[in-house]
């Protein structure tokens, strides 16, 4: 599946490369990345503690949306970024739609398995909101911080 990568607020097709996917079952059987590029594929009911110590050996973690309504991977992504400090790519696989992509990006996703022809519409969807009330895994300041900064400047 082609992947769009998020960089500086824009989505662009990812450069192609060979990648080896390791499933959670394989991981549990002891398969570990050696040389090359590896992606860990997690089902959306998987806990993250068992993989936490090994995360930095994966170039990407693939999280899944079996249906857009199934939002478990949003929590997994935030935990990967905020609790386990994962800095590699977090890729959304499955029912990845334009109208959810902003939430995904805020939760920490930066790779999206969708067709290249979607890049423009998805990029547009990323900029539909200027401000956000709550902190998440992205760099956006929560509104209360903006208010505080403005009050200080005044």
């Amino acid at each position: 599946m082609p992947t769009l990568k998020l960089r500086n607020g824009f989505l662009a097709p990812a450069e192609s490369f060979a990648e080896t996917e390791i499933t959670l079952e394989a991981f549990r059987e002891g398969v570990r990345p050696e040389a090359g590029r590896f992606a860990l594929v997690l089902p959306n009911d998987a806990g993250l503690e068992e993989v936490a110590a090994t995360l930095d050996r994966f170039a990407a973690v693939v999280l899944q949306f079996p249906a857009f309504k199934d939002g478990r991977a949003y929590s997994q992504a935030r935990l990967l970024r905020e609790r386990y400090g994962y800095r590699g790519e977090i890729r959304a696989r499955g029912d990845v739609l334009r109208d959810q992509i902003l939430f995904m990006a805020r939760a920490g996703f930066d790779g999206f398995e969708v067709g290249e022809e979607q890049a423009e519409a998805f990029t547009e969807a990323l900029s539909e909101f200027a401000y956000f009330y709550q902190p998440a895994a992205d760099a956006a300041l929560p509104v209360w911080r903006r208010r505080a900064a403005r009050a200080e400047a005044a």
């Binding site: 857009f68 309504k69 959810q100 995904m104 909101f129 401000y131 509104v143 911080r145």
Partner: protein
């Protein structure tokens, strides 16, 4: 009340623009109805039996006169001249055209309102006590906390695709008017041992097919940690809640299948890892929001009002209205005015455009520009001088809004039922209309006292029948509407779920059956006992026998 700053305003306007684009994609055919459905459902737009229905958020039930006037304008311009207040303090329009909805949202944004998260599997409008800021019994005004929750939950990136919808209610009074024990999360503001305020956190209550009274998972949460604690609850639910069956997807099922202790342990563990992070607001931001809810500039008055007392003696109808529809205010010389939206023989909760404008005018002049919506589908003028009560009463009477029945047998909660809703098995509104007509003809409502009848047209329980002192549930039996009666429910601080009384009654039998229950109660009550108290003392079988007395003959 809260006012938008540039950030709030921008967020709401961005949402209108986004939704306008989505509607445009639907109207052009780029989106199918199937693709559009989840998008409109994030914005309170349902497709009902006959038309679209738009649900507009009234955050924690608080409205200004300007806002209510705009709601009247919308009813007139885009609908059939009325709106319908819901059991979650929101208002619904039953007949908007899809093409108009973006314009309606712009009109709402003009008065700092929106329809964000009034449907969908996300955190819905936060509800609260309609007497907030006016009642003497509250610990503090709960509305700043509701506004804090509103902002935090708006477009929350992690919690917008939950297993199921999620409802939060907040109260700060010992008398629970917000039904906190039958919400996904109920928050009760309390004073801690050291005199500081915090929250009792109740989780896993709810109605629907599988009703539960919520469990307290934390007796006292220091208030500055509210958002991190909520985030912990939501995260456990988002990850653990069932998604294989929508009837088992609410948090109440998770809490009750996991066990309260296990659920609590998971929440506390998650919370320990995120408390004190950027999720919790700093004191300055809490104070900034709290300042918007400062008490209005009350006059210093003596509590007694000669004008009020004189009018009561002169006008017996006013006297009766004053006895039934007023509540005590914390400020001497003021009263809380309840406006019943339950006129006899009419759909509960409906209000016309002209009535909305009239209430807006009255509130502007006599209630510091404030109106509240209640979860029992009525309105409140929170701060009226006793000296002005007779004037206010007459102004309300002029627009048919002076029905004196708050808390009485004709103050019925009913869902829209089969007249509007495609989920319903039976009609609710006509049953409510006929019960209220019956008791008007019979008289003696005030003497019967507090009696809460709640009617749902199907097991989804939007009419809260499980927590009615008398609950009525519409069921379909071979294509005919039948009604099952539950007895002894309560959604207040003494929360309990009603017990099913047995086989269903036909639409013709149900009004007689309710009357027999009420007569039996009147004949057997002890001094000061409400219907619910008598039921609890005498037991289910005593009342059940009366219910079927006629049908069995």
């Amino acid at each position: 009340m809260y006012r938008y700053d540039e950030f709030d305003e921008t967020i709401v306007r961005d949402r209108v623009r986004q939704f306008r684009g989505q509607v445009g994609r639907r109207l052009s055919g780029e989106l199918t109805e199937e693709q559009f459905k989840p998008l409109r459902l994030m914005n309170g737009l349902y497709l009902q039996l006959h038309a679209y229905m738009l649900r507009v958020a009234v955050p924690y039930g608080t409205l200004s006169s300007k806002q209510l006037r705009q709601l009247g304008h919308i009813a007139r311009k885009y609908d059939k001249g009325y709106g319908h207040f819901t059991t979650r303090q929101n208002i619904q329009y039953n007949w908007p055209a899809l093409v108009d909805v973006p314009d309606i949202l712009d009109d709402l944004a003009d008065v700092e309102m929106h329809a964000i998260q009034t449907s969908g599997n996300c955190i819905r409008n936060v509800t609260s006590d309609q007497y907030a800021g006016a009642s003497a019994e509250e610990i503090e005004d709960p509305r700043p906390w509701c506004e804090i929750i509103r902002q935090w939950s708006t477009f929350h990136p992690e919690f917008s695709y939950l297993p199921r919808k999620f409802k939060i209610a907040v109260t700060a009074a010992p008398h629970d008017r917000a039904a906190v024990k039958v919400h996904d999360i109920g928050l009760v503001i309390k004073k801690g041992a050291d005199g500081r305020t915090g929250f009792e956190v109740i989780v896993g209550g709810g109605l629907g097919r599988t009703p539960y009274v919520g469990h307290t998972i934390r007796d006292f949460l220091p208030k500055e940690h509210l958002l991190s604690y909520l985030e912990a609850v939501m995260r456990v639910y988002n990850l653990q809640g069932r998604r294989d069956n929508i009837y088992k997807a609410r948090i109440k099922i998770l809490v009750n299948s996991e066990g309260v202790e296990s659920f609590r342990a998971q929440v506390e563990d998650e919370w320990s890892k995120i408390k004190g992070s950027d999720i919790d607001l700093p004191r300055e931001e809490i104070e900034r929001i709290r300042r918007y809810f400062a008490p209005p500039p009350f006059e210093t008055l003596s509590d007694a009002s000669i004008a009020f007392d004189t009018a009561r003696k002169a006008d017996p109808e006013f006297d009766r209205w004053a006895r039934i529809n007023l509540a005590a205010h914390k400020q001497p010389g003021y009263a809380i005015v309840n406006i019943s939206l339950k006129p006899y023989g009419k759909p509960p909760g409906d209000i016309s455009d002209a009535q909305m404008e009239a209430v807006a005018d009255i509130a502007e002049r006599y209630s510091f520009d404030e109106i509240r919506a209640t979860h029992e589908q009525n309105l409140v003028l929170p701060h009226v001088r006793k000296d002005d009560l007779y004037t206010v009463y007459k102004a309300l009477r002029d627009v048919d809004l002076a029905t004196a029945n708050i808390g009485l047998v004709s103050d019925i909660i009913a869902c829209p039922g089969l007249d509007y809703c495609d989920l319903a098995n039976a009609r609710s509104i006509p049953i409510a209309e006929r019960i209220s007509e019956r008791f008007r003809a019979k008289g003696g409502e005030e003497e019967i006292g507090e009696l809460k009848i709640k009617i749902s047209g199907c097991i989804n329980a939007c009419g809260h029948h499980h927590v009615g002192h008398i609950g009525i549930l519409g069921v379909d039996k071979k294509g005919e509407e039948f009604y099952q009666i539950t007895l002894g429910g309560s959604g207040a601080e003494d929360a309990s779920l009603g017990e099913i009384a047995g086989r269903g009654l036909s639409s013709d039998q149900v009004v007689d059956a309710v009357e027999r229950l009420v007569d039996f109660y009147k004949d057997n009550r002890k001094d000061g006992e409400r219907f619910l108290d008598a039921y609890r003392r005498m037991g289910h079988d005593a009342f059940k026998g009366v219910l079927y007395a006629d049908a069995q003959a």
